[in-house]
Amino acid sequence: MNFAFSEEQDQLRDAIRKFMEAKSPESEVRRLMETTEGYDPAVWTQMAQELGLQSLHLPEKHGGQGFTFVELGIVLEEMGRELLCAPYFSTVCLAANAIMNAGTDAQQSELLPGIAAGETIAALAFTEPNGKWDASGITMEAKGTGDSYTLDGEKMFVIDGHTANTVVVAARQAGTSGEDGIGFFVVDGDAKGLTRTPLATMDQTRKQAKLEFSGVAAKPLGDPAGGWSALSKTLDQAAVCLANEMVGGAQKVLDMAVEYAKVRVQFGRPIGSFQAIKHKCADMLLEVESGKSAAYYAAWAAAEDNEELPVVASLAKAYCSDAYFHAAAENIQIHGGIGFTWEHPAHLYFKRAKSSEILLGDATYHRELLAQRIGI
């Protein structure tokens, strides 16, 4: 038994942290969050070319480096720490995983190299205005046969849907319900009949779009009627990725809170010497460390692709959602009035914590899913 990162993995973390600190300082986060696109194409290219981040866990035969979810988790944790504004989660953690889980070898070799090279931004469009994260939420129907389908309907809350070159869409065969008849379909971002509307997001550091499909031509990705298990697995893998991203942000807000508690003086002493503040920080540490344990273990299970993945994915998503939000909220409380201002970064993390909590289903949703998965 050895529950620690290897020396190589620690070195990877160091390299990513340096890059994120250099490329995603608060000033850049604030600049990019005000834009519609929400990312810097030059940094996106550097991420691919200098660090190989988009290709990290993709198979070598499709232009990837063949690393695992453990390394991917490290990258996401460091991105979460600095609130990197980039279509990374959508492209790598959602779309690329869906392509790997559902696509044939030929489809993967067509779609993945562009992602690996940083040339393709991809999105996974599965949620709809009903806001559901499970199979019942997918009502959009795909009509057609063979290689030729058309899509009509609306997808909502699509992460980076407005900037993606490639959109992987989850839709279902007419007359099916639940987990039956669901398939993936690939459309170009600028496809005829596709109207993409960027949404004004509460968390400005992660962009979302509404995608309206009107007779959009689409190619099936894998089995056009038997894709649920691939989608379910993709969502589990993405939940693991998100849990790792969240603990990065949670550690950062804990660091901010502790630092401030040491220097802010009231009643003639640092506020961190008061138990009211000290105990808040202690609870935050307990939750952040516990969140890391869950997120790291889940990353390992995803890397092994073992039978534990569904359980630990929901477990990690549930715990880290609560832990990050709690830490981000306490960080504001400990900062007092300054923590409530627009100019202080506390709200950026608070909002990211909330949007991450919602994304892929909140803690309540995942606890129920977990209950079902462990046979409760």
Partner: protein, 397 residues
Amino acid sequence: MEFVDTPEEAAFRDEIRTWLSEHLTGDFAALGGRGGPADEHGWDIRVEWEKLLGKDRWLGLSWPTEHGGRGAGFAEQVIFSEEYAKANAPARVSFFGEGLFAPTLLAFGTEEQKRRFLPKIQSVEELWCQGFSEPNAGSDLANVQTRGVLDGDQWIVNGQKVWTTLAHRAHWCFCVTRTDPESEGHKGLSYLLIPMDQPGVEVRPLKQMTGTAEFNEVFFDDARAAKDQVLGPVGEGWKVAMATLGFERGTAFLSQQLAFQRELEEIIDLARANGAIEDPQIRQELADSFVGVQIMKFNGMRMLTSLVHTGVLGPESSIGKLYWSSWHRTLGERAMHVLGPAGGIVEGTPGDAGAYALSEFQRIFMFSRSETIYAGSSEIQRNIIGERVLGLPREPR
């Protein structure tokens, strides 16, 4: 990251499994693993069982071989605890001796002291109790007022200890005592080893909210201990006591999540049986407890990895203590939710106060209230985490 046994670990695990399957039979197997170190259920059978463990050196597993142990490292200790819990073997009676005193003795004792005390712990001929808390020294443990005065070749001890778990079963007490009458706080304390069977020691049971009396008050009235029955240097008892507390908060509890997991499973079974499992709120609570106990395991594995690499368990052990005691308390509350109105009825006869008896779930519900208090209250743990892990300033004193 690697979560499977090395070949050596797997062989060790096999050895334990084989031993348990051969020995855990009859009355021992029937007893099951219920209760904790403070529970007296099936006491005599558990003592007999413990002697078997000692005879084959499972008690004393971590001790050096020259002291009768197996020289097992942290990983082996955890493997042993895992297999022990999986086999549902009886709750241990030597927790205070083996779990708290022995590691302290090995760290601070003289060779002579080790040879005097370790064999008797292993043979279960001598049980120990922990003389730390006093009426005016709870969280402020350094305010100990029990006094020890050297009279020739003996310490004469006067004072009172409280919350002394299983003192009525113990043969010896490791006792934080003020041996410098001029001293205050954590200076001037010594870690005395006091025999319990003597005229100067009186043990009075403390009936708890559970209706049982695992805790005691211990009164020392000119109690005596031999001059050399002090662990570590005279006046350095605080340091020794802190080491004991480190063991109490750390390694001793690294693998108890398996027993907790079993309790959760029993509560889930009950919820299935009485229909509470259909309630969405109960489902949330049970799933959350499952999340919590799994994370306890993950945290334990991370802590163990760090322990194996660095050899020391730092103030981070406070995170573990705070975590498990809070989790268990919540589990007890949730068990009561699952029980519903049945949770409000205890065994016993109305009008007969002595017959007040709790079910296992009610016992968890109540006994867990003590767990966020003993071995350093949750508030003390938060102070330790805040000051020694996060580096926040101390409270001005």
